[in-house]
């Protein structure tokens, strides 16, 4: 690029004899413009490289991220400096927009947050983007209230910053760091939990809490509270279902809430919660905990609705589990709940209705806390929900599913007034439907221990030794790959889930917290079998076969013939927290949101990514250049090229690029510039320019919108800066961006063609195919090409003028040919075929009439 710049300068010099008053600025503006384009190119290359390295195909570490981002920062800062110089500091907003994005990325890389922010936020005031501050659970609840307008309890969040203040105030930072060391972790966690429970609230937090409680009492009278965990990411990608404490029925006074607050945050460091976090790639001690203080609902019945069947992935039905009283009976799996399968379309027909035994129910005590008691006889034999409530719950659940674009696992309650109140919503993990699956249970010459008992939570066929968990402490000795057999289900089992082959319980239900976790860990699980602890003897080897149809069988011994040969790889990349965090980092860097320069949104304030910043700089630099040319008295001015198929190419002639009689609108015949003429001749070659765009599929359109905002075509000015032998042409068709820079003089030694192509609208695999196709063609034309992600650059140098003209003619045809071609590159085979057809001069891919 340096040689190019050098060449540009000498090019200017060549026409110095013609330089007239007023035109000097245009030329120096062009030098600046060119330099900014070079800086931007460099930055875009780094962005592409970062995208590739963090795509999942590479093992990368934080050193790479830091170094690459440092390089990027350097390029962008240089570009900004040159831009400010070119525009005379006309866009001060762009610098601060950049600083803001840079600070956010910096914080993500180093993992720090801003020091002191709001300690308490009312649910009414929670707005989009606050998920990290208030934690996932409170955030979703607030969204359901504020944005969907559904009935959900009042309350406020004690934020992540409150947590950090608490940790600082009680000097617990070191104890938390120790969780990531080699020491005795069980002991480290235990002592940390104790220190939290003995800790005191910092005065600032106590004051905020007291004010928030006053406010909440003002809203709901003498209400009781539920103090609920709301950790970072909780109810996000992972549910953390039942991993942290929720304290129910707490009086709305500072001492009671303070006590509950400590218990909730201590639960972040419980053994089962720590196992869970580590298994899913969280560095020990890295997760922080916000807490929700929520007005309790005086519930007649409560439970859970799944907006799909998690077992077979059926999206046409919703499944409701319900019991009398407060929620814990269902989510802790302590009682056998009523179960309803409801159709998701009006009239919401109930396809299945199973009366649960509901032996116990949870109620609020008169003083603090809740108790589980035997339910009255008449309640046991009656359904806890009637048709009206079933419909209301289903309707609300569907609007939540709609809002989050995916199946949900929703906790709800029906209050004394008979209305439905939403307590929580989280994504529901469902089995991806595999159509080619055949479930043929082989007949086995083995002793049958259990057959079709209980409910399957997670299907699978596994073998292992029975381990009877009589007490939670017994889990300390849980052997690897054993089958956990227990009386009731418990979220505490998360501790051993990574090592358990399967879980079978006597009681429990498929909507419990443990059930959610079994699905996340993909541990074959059957609950509510009635007698597993009596039938299955400790230490004996068994094989569990749990089917997607809900059927289950337990055989004696290890039946290798039916055991799933290759169970799922335990984790997938997207499930790693650190991986997601770095992906998130890329979201602050590479998507392009700023596409249409003709809308009011095209401002520095709307730059959300580094790519947006570069786009803004590019656009405004070009305008600056155009303006400079307009105001130049007798110097070059901007002229529009009259082309039948494309009306927005403008040329800035910096020296003998057009005939003297070329007006504000000029024709191809008036082009003198050797390279420009060659490209235009190629572009207008019969058949090369397809008439309409290729029809773009809905999913591609979606990808494009995600990448670049609304679909736009041909709204930009495409700029060609030309002279007799030189051309710099920047063309943007919708989502892809093509630059050709060329010098084609009679002296071969000083000639070059540089070709650069980035982006596209279709999904990545199709875009990559287009890049591959371009590589084949460009190599054929004699370029040396380099592809990286969806960016390709190609150069050829030391070519005669005739050769340059021949190649540029082909490049012109290629520019026309590849317009939107990515959308139809549906297979790898097509890539080679289309490349060959282009090389053979056959552009009529669809046998349709073209230009």
């Amino acid at each position: 690029m340096t040689t190019l710049r050098h060449k540009m300068r000498s090019l200017m010099g060549r026409y110095s004899g013609r330089r007239e008053a007023g035109s000097v600025d245009v030329r120096s503006a062009f030098v600046s413009y060119k330099k900014i384009m070079d800086d931007n190119d460099r930055a875009l290359e780094i962005i592409t490289d970062m995208g590739e390295k963090t795509s999942g195909s590479y093992l990368f570490d934080v050193v790479y991220i830091r170094n690459a981002y440092a390089d990027l920062t350097k390029s962008v800062r240089i570009s900004l400096k040159d831009f400010n110089q070119l525009t005379g500091g006309h866009y001060p907003g762009i610098q601060s927009a950049y600083e803001k994005i840079d600070a956010r990325i910096d914080a993500l890389i180093s993992g720090t947050t801003r020091p002191l922010e709001r300690l308490s936020i009312r649910f009414d005031d929670i707005s989009p983007g606050m998920a990290r501050e208030v934690g996932g659970k409170s955030y979703h609840l607030a969204e359901i209230r504020n944005r969907l307008g559904l009935e959900a309890p009042d309350g406020f969040a004690l934020t992540i910053f409150a947590f950090e203040e608490f940790i600082r105030h009680n000097r617990l930072g070191e104890s938390i760091s120790a969780l990531d060391s080699d020491g005795d972790q069980l002991e480290n966690r235990r002592s940390l939990r104790q220190r939290i429970l003995r800790g005191s609230l910092p005065p600032s937090l106590e004051k905020e809490l007291s004010e928030s409680l006053d406010w909440l009492r003002g809203r709901c009278g003498e209400c009781r509270l539920a103090i609920r965990s709301s950790a970072e990411e909780e109810d996000g990608f992972f549910s953390f279902a039942g991993q942290f404490e929720t304290i129910l029925n707490v009086s709305a006074e500072v001492p009671a809430v303070e006590d509950a607050y400590r218990r909730v945050i201590a639960s972040l460091f419980s053994d089962e919660a720590m196992e869970y976090q580590q298994r899913f790639g969280y560095r020990p001690g890295s997760l922080r905990m916000a807490v929700g203080c929520v007005a309790m609902v005086d519930a007649v019945a409560s439970g859970v609705i799944y907006t799909a069947d998690p077992l077979d992935g059926n999206r046409d039905v919703a499944i409701i589990n319900s019991a009398w009283g407060l929620g814990p009976s269902v989510v802790e799996g302590s009682t056998e709940a009523d179960r309803f399968v409801v159709g998701k379309r009006p009239p919401f027909e109930v396809a299945e209705r199973i009366l649960g035994k509901k032996k116990t129910m949870t109620s609020a005590r008169a003083e603090d806390g809740v108790e589980e008691m035997e339910s009255a006889d008449d309640l046991r034999h009656a359904f806890s929900l009637g048709p009206k409530e079933l419909e209301a719950i289903t309707r609300e659940a569907l609007s939540i599913e709609d809002y989050y674009h995916g199946p949900q696992d929703i906790e709800w309650a029906v209050n004394r007034a008979g209305s439905v109140v939403i307590l929580q919503s989280r994504p529901l993990r469902i089995k991806e439907i595999q159509r080619d699956e055949t479930v043929a249970a082989p007949v086995l010459e083995r002793r049958l221990l259990m057959k079709n008992q209980g409910s399957v939570v997670q299907p699978g066929a596994v073998g292992g030794r029975v381990f009877l968990a009589s007490t939670p402490e017994a889990l300390d000795d849980f052997p690897r790959d054993a089958i956990l057999v227990a009386r009731s289900d418990s979220p505490q089992f998360a501790r051993v889930m990574p090592y358990a082959s399967a879980i079978i319980t006597d009681s429990g239900n498929t909507a419990s917290h443990m059930a959610s976790i079994s699905r996340e860990f993909r541990v074959p699980t059957v609950v509510n079998t009635g007698n597993a602890t009596r039938v299955l003897e400790p230490g004996v080897e068994i094989t569990l076969q749990a089917g997607e149809d809900g059927g289950m069988t337990v055989y004696e011994g290890i039946a290798r013939e039916i055991i799933d040969e290759q169970h799922d790889t335990f984790l997938k990349l997207e499930e790693l927290y650190e991986f997601r965090r770095r992906k998130y980092l890329m979201k602050c860097i590479s998507p392009l949101n700023l596409v249409d320069p003709f809308t009011d949104d095209f401002t520095p304030d709307n730059c959300r990514t580094i790519h947006d910043i570069l786009r803004f700089i590019h656009e405004k630099s070009m305008r600056e250049l155009i303006e400079a040319s307009r105001h130049a008295e007798r110097g070059p001015s901007l002229k529009r090229l009259d082309l039948p198929f494309m009306d927005n190419i403008h040329a800035l002639d910096i020296g003998a690029g057009l005939t003297a009689d070329a007006g504000d609108v000029f024709t191809v015949d008036q082009v003198v510039s050797v390279p420009f003429r060659a490209v235009l001749s190629g572009m207008s070659y019969p058949g090369a320019w397809r008439k309409g765009g290729v029809p773009i599929s809905l999913s591609d359109f979606f990808t494009a919108s995600m990448r670049a905002g609304p679909m736009l075509e041909n709204v930009d000015i495409n700029l060609a800066v030309i002279s007799h032998f030189y051309m710099n042409l920047a063309v943007r068709f919708g989502y892809h961006y093509n630059v050709i820079d060329c010098f084609a003089s009679p002296r071969a030694a000083s000639n070059h063609i540089y070709f650069r192509f980035l982006g596209g609208a279709a999904d990545l695999s199709k875009r990559l195919r287009r890049i591959e196709m371009l590589a084949i063609i460009l190599d054929h034309l004699g370029f040396v090409s380099k592809a990286k992600g969806d960016l390709i650059t190609a150069t050829t140098t030391n070519i005669s003028q005739e050769e340059a003209v021949r190649i540029l003619d082909q490049v012109g045809r290629l520019m026309a040919f590849i317009r939107q071609l990515d959308a139809i590159l549906t297979s790898d085979a097509i890539v080679k075929e289309f490349a060959q057809r282009f090389i053979d001069g056959d552009y009529d891919l669809f046998g349709e009439a073209s230009l």
């Binding site: 590479y58 093992l59 570490d61 080699d182 991986f579």
Partner: protein, 122 residues
């Protein structure tokens, strides 16, 4: 029996990503954040390939290489490092390292190298 691979890297994400990708190939994978417990584990049970980071707190990758070669001469060692410096590479080659990659490592290449290491063993 599937081949057993050990991955040692003080950045959790590297071990986690390696585990996921290598398990896809049917290998049994164990990961460690530092070398001390990893070497202890090696005494308990054999591994076919050890993939280790070079720069780590405490025992570094070269030390791992020496120990492995001394006690388990059949185990192949693949070194990965963010500091691709020539001197270290030379020392590693002298120490009979099977392969050497600068980070970020293309997972495909790491898989190919492991598969080569395993086939040499047969």
């Amino acid at each position: 029996m599937s081949s057993r691979i050990m991955v040692i890297d003080d950045e959790k994400i590297v071990g986690d990503m390696a585990k996921i990708s290598l398990e896809e190939e049917g290998y049994e994978v164990e990961t460690f954040l530092n070398a001390d417990p990893a070497l202890k584990r090696l005494q308990e049970t054999g591994f076919d390939v050890v993939v280790t980071d070079l720069k780590m707190k405490g025992i570094d990758g070269l030390e791992v290489l020496r120990t492995v070669k001394q006690n388990h001469p059949d185990t192949k060692v693949i070194m990965i490092t963010a500091f691709a410096d020539l001197d270290v590479a030379i020392e590693a080659i002298k120490g009979d390292v099977f392969d050497f990659f600068p980070k970020p490592v293309r997972i495909k290449e790491l898989k190919a190298s492991i598969s080569k290491a395993l086939s040499k063993e047969d």
